[in-house]
Amino acid sequence: MDDDSREFERFARPHAAAALRLARTLVRNEADAQDVLQDSFLRAFRHFRGFSGESPRAWLLSIVRNVSFTLWRKRERDDPGEFEPTLDAEPDLAPSAEARLLEACDASEVHAALGRLPGLHREVLVLREMEECSYREIAEILGVPIGTVMSRLSRARAQLVRELVGDPRSKN
């Protein structure tokens, strides 16, 4: 009678770390991230028998995202508007040779800069660059068309570059 819980462990284990990283990306503190993770595993366990998609990872991460949002909506009054990116900024087209400056950034600077991005930008960067999800998987997780993934990713990258090495135009 325990088989399905063991089976679920095998199903979810390869994606557990990605789930926690995404939760950390979407909520503001470690306790909330742990709550989101636990809740997501429970929900996933109840439904994983019915899972028939291609990517268990995308499915699990979409649950993490929904659970995070439920938590996030409860907090909305305290922290309004934080998740939506301001629609600025077509990416800067020619951000000079910032590559070397970027390479000098350490992990804590990177996490701090990610933390300053709107959630929609943060999550797409984490999914693509850290979890190496395909556009198709990201589209499935976010519930948006692939074209939106691409445009959001391009804005998010441009914004993160600006956060890390500054707007080249602001330096005289």
Binding site: S5, A16, A17, Q34, R46, L102, A107, M130, V161
Partner: protein, 240 residues
């Protein structure tokens, strides 16, 4: 093939991410061969990828959390199975067990099971309300003895109520929330002497019981012991 008239904005990202068809990739490469600005941009985003990948944190706690959840599922089932098994036993044996006095730890498990069932079924409340008067009226319409409901405060919000069966009797369940945690507070009239709140941990749940002026309380949540103590104090304070 046609080179891009303009800089290939989104396509540059799709190229970087290996998401373009062969034809699309060749188009982008044709543009890159003539456009230094796009080559620099691509180089920048490649560098960004490297720093992001280096900043990727290991998350070994995630597996621990997964195992905690699946173990919790198995433990709950073993208890349910044990109870089911009793029903199938010979009547005499069942009766003998029935006559054994209930201990605190039996109720602890029952309290935890009721809470887990309510969460699992997605019906944490039968009445959703943050109004203590409405909650009190709803409960008194369903139970012979009214139990006072307490307004939220100090980080706790009143979420609503249920009527559950606990220890063989119907009980009022008032549901509170603290941060992301739901807390069930079961209450019923009791002749027990007053008893201070005593939180304890039972598996993944924190439970707490106390008695106060003719009402016995049990509380269960996945919040911590300090949260439960604080809520118990709030409920006691509002009754005096």
């Amino acid at each position: 093939m046609e080179p891009f008239d303009e800089h290939p904005r989104g396509a540059l990202h799709a190229y970087l991410d290996g998401e373009l068809s062969l034809e699309g990739s060749l188009e982008v490469e044709a543009h890159l061969s003539t456009c230094a600005a796009c080559r620099r941009e691509l180089e920048t985003y490649r560098a960004l990828r490297r720093v992001l990948q280096q900043a990727r944190a290991a998350a070994p706690e995630a597996e621990t959390a997964l195992v905690r959840v699946t173990r919790g599922v198995r433990a709950r089932r073993r208890r349910a199975f044990a109870i089911g098994g009793l029903g199938a036993m010979a009547a005499a044996a069942a009766l003998a067990l029935f006559l054994l006095p209930r201990t605190g730890s039996d109720i602890t498990h029952e309290v935890a099971a009721v809470h887990a069932r309510a969460l699992d079924s997605g019906r944490s409340v039968q009445l959703a309300s943050s109004d203590p008067v409405a909650v009190g009226q709803w409960l008194s319409a369903r139970l012979p003895d009214t139990v006072p409901a307490t307004a939220g405060g100090d980080g706790f919000s009143l979420r609503g109520a249920r009527v559950d069966s606990l220890d063989g009797r119907p009980v009022a369940t008032v549901v509170y929330q603290v941060r992301s945690h739901l807390v069930d507070v079961f209450a019923w009239p009791s002749a027990e002497r007053d008893m201070e709140p005593r939180p304890s941990v039972a598996g993944r749940w924190t439970v707490c019981r106390w008695s106060h002026r003719g009402v016995a309380y049990w509380m269960v949540s996945d919040a911590g012991t300090e949260d439960l103590k604080a809520l118990a104090a709030l409920i006691k304070e509002r009754r005096t």
